[in-house]
Symmetry: C2
Subunit: 148 residues, 2 copies
Amino acid sequence: MKKRAQPRSHCPVNYGLEAFGDPWALLILRDIVFRGKRTYGEFLRAEEGWATNILASRLGHLISMGILRRDPHETDRRKDLYSLTEKGLDLIPVLLEIVLWSAQHDASSEAHRIPRLVAAIRSGDRAIVDEVRERVRSGEGIVKYYLE
Amino acid sequence: MKKRAQPRSHCPVNYGLEAFGDPWALLILRDIVFRGKRTYGEFLRAEEGWATNILASRLGHLISMGILRRDPHETDRRKDLYSLTEKGLDLIPVLLEIVLWSAQHDASSEAHRIPRLVAAIRSGDRAIVDEVRERVRSGEGIVKYYLE
């Protein structure tokens, strides 16, 4: 879907899709939230296989949408660190609902390794969203907290 | 993202993206859930502007993933009717979270016309998911129930 300065419509689903709905963009969010990745090199190593030009363009798009922030690495000046803004952190419930759906419908899902998180999402308790949000804000991937 | 017989990974986010995460596929789900569209001709009239070959391919993909079902029209044999399977209905929470996020971050969002639904999603009460699900199952778009 071509990126535009103005969304095609302000239908809330369409707005979300134009902002973050590119599948590759969502994999970046996945890598930050669940795996604690923060650098270009770390994103590039995803098992789904990035083309470098696509990764760079999606990172730029997410920054332009106010979902990601790029800051200089504290110690390694050749690297940048990517993290979620507040607007980006607000996408956590979307990611969690995708995890729940896949847990329900993919027998081979890796989500079966984190049953406590899946059960908490299913319960609809917003406390799990707040818990995940705080963990992501600290810059660490959350999966390790829920492995059983 | 190229469609494959096997997902690139069983990461639950990636699985969801390969199943329904194509932006165009999500617009079909949007049209069914919120607007009660059921035929090819109705989908084609979305304001985002479909290319007919993309629409046909995305409908076929969603059927192959078990998310959509295609049945003959009751009275007009030239038409097919598309509806969500149970697996497709299970995607309603993903759509609702996208609506909530857009309501929070797009000042021009059409979601502002349905504040009661947005507030119900924000509260995290799963009852709203069940309510929407039953309305979608009846084959009608839900927006009209929440307009204020």
